[in-house]
């Protein structure tokens, strides 16, 4: 089998033992990877069912290419990129529908800032502001917000220097604050 694979590079010609070994290694990464992929998808799609669908597809794509991954330690970063890309693709597909929903919310009777902040609408505004962020800033902000991930771990996931991640997170928060500061100012006026 290995000889055949050498003849046809890139082909996946596996024996039973090799398949079982790959599966075992994948299983070791599966639980953690599923959680990461789901959370990333959730941050983009904000829909449980859609996020699970994206996470499942990302995990299966990662499994299909798992035999090509030389460094198993890079699995989470790789999965992270797959899930992020899939989530963005799905978001683009449903953007029109989501836009209608957001417009409907924004066109609804004007609530004062305190009411908005008190309700779930504040989260909607946060989500909208996040969607408007540049992709690099958005990804760093989401990963840094996931419980348990330090800046160093995010840097390892994205294969970037830690300073770059700190800078991106800082910039993302600042832009978010600038976009949502009107909520706080409205509260002061009242």
């Amino acid at each position: 089998m290995q000889a055949l694979e050498a003849i046809l590079p890139g082909s996946r010609v596996q024996g039973e033992n090799e398949t079982a070994e790959l599966r075992r290694e994948f299983e070791e990464q599966l639980a953690d990877g599923a959680s990461l992929a789901f959370r990333l998808a959730m941050s983009v799609l904000r829909n449980h069912a859609d996020a699970e669908e994206v996470a499942q597809e990302a995990l299966l794509r990662a499994y299909r290419g798992f035999h090509r991954l030389r460094e198993r330690g890079a699995f989470r970063g790789w999965l992270c990129r797959i899930a992020w890309r899939l989530a963005l693709d799905k978001q683009r597909g449903t953007r029109r529908r989501e836009k209608r929903e957001v417009v409907a919310v924004l066109d609804s009777p004007v609530l004062n800032a305190e009411q908005i902040a008190a309700s779930n609408e504040f989260e909607r505004h946060v989500a909208k502001a996040m969607d408007e962020l540049p992709e690099k800033l958005r990804q760093a902000l989401v990963l840094a917000a996931i419980q348990g991930y330090t800046t160093k771990e995010v840097a390892e996931l994205l294969d970037l220097p830690e300073g770059t991640i700190k800078s991106r997170v800082h910039l993302a928060r600042k832009q978010m604050a600038e976009k949502l500061s009107w909520l706080v100012k409205d509260t002061n006026r009242d």
């Binding site: 055949l4 499994y63 917000a145 600042k174």
Partner: protein
Amino acid sequence: MACERYESRLTDEVLAPGDDAELTSHLGGCAQCRAELARQSELQSRIAGSIAAMVADEPSPALLSRVRLRADAIDAIVAEDSASRALWVGWTISGVAVAALAGFAIFFASRALLRQSGSGPQPVQTAVGTPSPQTSATNSSPQSSAPEARNVLPPAPVSSAAVKRSSAQGGTARRKMPRSTPAPQLSVARTAPAPAALPTAAPGFNVIIPPGQREAVLRLVAAMKTGRVNAAGLLSPSEQQQMTPIEIAPLKITLLDEKKANSQSDGNQQ
């Protein structure tokens, strides 16, 4: 309302407290800026809380079981694909090997056939009217041989040197025309014997020539061998004799005026 100068720096102070020394000292004496800083801090905590809540959800346990089921299906497909691919590769390699062997076999067989048949063109047998040496010797009449036979140049007698040459070229001429076999002689050679100096045709070749041009062709062959072709020398002596110059009287051109004067004088005379 915060001071306009420090308003944009308040967010940085929230995100990285104490980095801006000037702002820190200003905050000590400005209540409005302190209040704005508190609001910005609250906003940041709310934003962070919203984002954290957004990504705090865990996938359902069914996700893992679904992924495992699909992974099993992928394994099955890959196993099937591996088997068929291995089979396909095996068949491909076998096919290529068989094709290569067949190619070699055809190549060597064709080479062997070429050796057997000779490297040059096959000698044309003087099948029509080629008499045996004995028949030619007894038959003195030129009409006794077929007319086509007159136009066939016989192969030259095979000398020992020619045999050596031909054997060096492949050794087939010796088999086709053994040394003991005398060259066939044609009746035309007796009726119009070729000069002794005339060269013979190349060994192993018969050439069909038009009637009466045997000598000319022999001369042409000899000239081609020497590399010097003299067209006049190619003609046979008899043909040269037949060529007689033609005398053509020069044209007489008379002017029109003279012609008129002549005609008038003729009329007067009449």
